[in-house]
Amino acid sequence: MRLTPEQQAILDGEQGEVLAKVMKTMVMYGDTFGAEEMVEVTGEKGHLVTSFGFGVMTAMFDLMDQLIEAGVVSKQPFTVDPRPMDKNVPSNPIMDLITKKFMYTKQASYEEQLAAVGLESKETGFTCACYFDEVGNTPKKGDILSWAESSAVVYANSVLGARCNRNSGIIDLFGSILGFVPKFGLLTDEGRKATWVIDIQTSKKPEAQVLGSAIGMKVMEEVPYVRGLDLFLGDELNQSAKDYLKDFGAASASNGAVGLYHIAGLTPEAVEQGEALIAEGAKTYVIDDAELERIEKNYPIIWKDPNATPKLAFIGCPHLSLEQLKDWAHRLDDALTAAGKKKVAVPTVMTTPEAVLRQFNGTPEAAILKARGVVVSYICPLMYMNNPLAGKMPVITNSNKLRTYTSARYFRDEQLLDRIVKGGAC
């Protein structure tokens, strides 16, 4: 890789040993992927994937200490993924003991470390959906980013037109510290070309979470160009389309490893360049009703008792937008009223950023959810499910990401609503 004199000086240790090691890490990382140069991180803010003070990860805390002691901090303020704990989320004393005494034992001290290296806000800085307007970490088209959270990376690349590779934790922080990242993959025009064409031929709007899952499993880390979805989503990136694409993208990134997709007639690069974005020799995948049904039927059920009665429902992985929260409140309210019930039959948690929660509280919809027995939390459902006892619980969700990484069982929105309202065995 060609380094500028300034970058070479950092690598040679002229600004200290710790920064030199940060630089060496990023040079080796770039060399591995054929990067020829570093490019400036132009996004205003960073975002880190590692939000949890998982006690045994001493290497990370030691590394953070080394950075802080050497005065090596982020050049940009950053947000971080959601917190792993919230006392408002249903639990039991043994789970709490494991969570606090064995798992996230370093949460408080890790948050202090995050603040010392550049966390923007300990109040509102924790969410996977940092790009929501309420949170205020919304990159502009063409911005170069150093992020790692897979659902945020795929959203920033695809919906916002920013440029970011699908990095690992710590690499995200190192890019924000240096202010530049190796140029390869999704940072290049060539790397953003679609090597798959997806033709949507369904009879109705596909469930975002299942469509994303199908495409992710098929294309893995490649870039899909999706045709026919604009018939259902329209040609305007309004809030409804953005929410759909948020959930679609998270499913594609977790069921596969998609870092960028193009939606014909809708996402910024597809609108600008059209099918010129499709690389020569791109493969084709046709998705119809039968294919979506096949995909969904093949999700393994890893509950010990497949007919167990759900003990918890999570809605909001990735975090829900304000509009999604309000929509769920009304749908749930209507469904409970229709069923002649006052409260949900399955304890239900809806998750959203703290910044959204603050706006949501005080709305009529917040009162509805409270009256109907729903908890609204800023927690990361995935981190909650990492508790081994939670892993043994029958948890249901409409998140394909949560299904992929944990024992939670996936249901489409309407199915999930029905289960939450009526309860009973699966």
Binding site: K24, T25, D62, L63, R166, L382
Partner: protein, 147 residues
């Protein structure tokens, strides 16, 4: 009879170890989660979705795999495992390495004293040939000998 494969050294180094073979993608977080949480020094794989590896100790093995999959905390998890001395002896990828595994291998190389040579692009034939329990030797130039 020994069979030789040539890959690209991502983190050059030498190692000899018994192979542990995953034919599916290796989910780093799911594989290491329980051993990190409960102090299992042999690092038995805790990924129930990986029938090749589930329950098998990973420490000190020549971990043979196509790529890693799963959470983008993967690199951090591998780095943490290495710092605790619970890493494989080497990582051998049949495919070009993915960004999460690369981060884990490089962070381990730069920020710990442990050695975990990492070679990628060994080809599909490598994973077809190597079997768990075979002896694998890695050289600095990315040559991998299986016997």
């Amino acid at each position: 009879m020994a069979k030789v494969f040539k890959g690209r050294p991502v983190v050059p180094g030498k190692a000899t170890a018994k192979a542990l073979v995953s034919h599916g993608g290796f989910n780093t977080l799911a594989s290491y989660q329980k051993s990190l949480l409960f102090g299992d020094k042999t690092a038995k794989c805790s990924d129930q979705n990986n029938p090749d590896l589930y329950g098998q100790p990973m420490v000190g093995t020549a971990l043979c795999l196509p790529q890693t999959i799963g959470s983008t905390t993967g690199g951090l998890v591998l780095f943490s495992a290495t710092a605790m001395g619970r890493q494989p002896a080497c990582l051998l990828f049949s495919e070009p390495i993915d960004s999460l595994a690369a981060a884990g291998a490089i962070l381990s190389e730069v920020w710990t004293d442990a050695s975990m040579p990492t070679v990628d692009s060994l080809g599909a034939e490598f994973l077809d040939y190597v079997q768990t329990g075979m002896t694998v030797t890695v050289d600095e130039d990315g040559t991998v000998t299986v016997e």
